[in-house]
C-alpha cells in the first residue's frame, strides 16, 4: 500500500492537460483508470469510495508542482521535547 506507481505514472501523462482544464481541482486515479476530476477533496474521496470501496486509490490535487509537507516543529524535535 502507498506506492501508487501506476497511478502516479498515469497522472504524469495527463498532468499538462489537467493543469490547463482543471488546475487546483482533485483527480481520482485507480490503477490505469481516471475516475474523474472534482472541485474539492471531499467530493473526490467520496467518489473514490463509492467506486472502489476500501481499495486504495490516488487523490491528487492538480498542480504544477508536487505537494510537499513542512512541519518544522515535528521534524526539528520541538514537539518531541518531553514536557
Amino acid at each position: 500500500m502507498g506506492s501508487f506507481e501506476r497511478e502516479l505514472a498515469l497522472y504524469e501523462t495527463k498532468r499538462q492537460e489537467l493543469i490547463v482544464s482543471h488546475l487546483g481541482q482533485y483527480v481520482v486515479i485507480h490503477g490505469d483508470t481516471v475516475l474523474g476530476v472534482y472541485p474539492n477533496f471531499a467530493d473526490a474521496y467520496g467518489s473514490g469510495v463509492a467506486e472502489f470501496g476500501q481499495e486504495p486509490f490516488l487523490v491528487r490535487q492538480i498542480s504544477t508542482e508536487d505537494p510537499t509537507a513542512q512541519n518544522p516543529a515535528l521534524y526539528a524535535g520541538i514537539i518531541s521535547a518531553h514536557l
Binding site: 502507498g2 497511478e7 502516479l8 469510495v49 486504495p56 486509490f57 505537494p67 510537499t68 514537539i79 518531541s80
Partner: protein, 166 residues
C-alpha cells in the same frame, strides 16, 4: 460567525488567567479522529462495524503546511492512503502518506472537519500537560495551515487565551 475562546486558568485555582500556561503548552484542544463519513456509510452499507474514534489532543501548529495525524491511529481505523507526499525533515526529504480523516472537536458543539487530508506521522509518545495535577494527554494531531486556511485564529499571549472562529 461563532467565536470559541480557550483560556488558561491559574494552576492553583487562584483568580484570573494564567498567561504562562499558554506560552508553555500552546494552543491545544481535545479532538477525536474518525473515519470520514463516506467510509462510515460504506462500512454500514456493507454490514461492517464502523470503528470508534480515537480521542486525544491536537496542537495548532502554524509552522506546518498540512495537518498531521498519528499514522498508527489512521491505520487502526482501517484507512488507506490516498497518495504519497514528500516531507521536509531534519534528515532531508522523506516520503509520507496522506490519509483522509474526519476530525471532531468535542468541546465545540456541532463542529467537525470531514474528509480532510492529513499527513500520517509518528507521534508515538508525544503528550502534553493540559491541566494541573493531571497526567499528560496524548497528542494525536497537529493542526496545520491547510485547516487554518478556513479559520480565524487569534493568539492573545498577555491574556493567556486564544480563539478560533470559522
Amino acid at each position: 460567525m461563532p467565536i470559541y475562546n480557550f483560556r488558561f486558568n491559574h494552576p492553583n485555582g487562584g483568580p484570573g488567567l494564567f498567561p504562562p500556561g499558554l506560552a508553555f503548552a500552546g494552543a491545544f484542544m481535545p479532538v477525536e479522529i474518525h473515519v470520514p463519513p463516506q467510509m462510515a456509510d460504506l462500512l454500514t452499507r456493507d454490514g461492517k462495524p464502523v470503528p470508534d474514534g480515537v480521542s486525544g489532543v491536537a496542537i495548532i501548529d502554524t509552522g506546518a503546511t498540512f495537518t498531521s495525524i498519528d499514522e498508527s491511529i489512521l491505520k487502526g481505523l482501517g484507512l488507506a492512503s490516498v497518495g504519497p507526499i514528500v516531507s521536509g525533515t531534519a534528515n532531508g526529504p522523506a516520503v509520507h502518506q496522506m490519509y483522509p480523516a474526519r476530525i471532531v472537536f468535542p468541546t465545540i458543539p456541532g463542529f467537525d472537519v470531514n474528509a480532510q487530508q492529513a499527513v500520517g506521522v509518528n507521534l508515538t509518545g508525544q503528550a502534553i500537560p493540559t491541566a494541573p495535577k493531571q497526567p499528560p494527554q496524548r497528542i494525536v494531531a497537529l493542526i496545520g495551515r491547510n485547516l487554518l486556511a478556513n479559520w480565524l485564529f487569534v493568539w492573545n499571549g498577555p491574556a493567556g487565551q486564544w480563539s478560533i472562529s470559522f
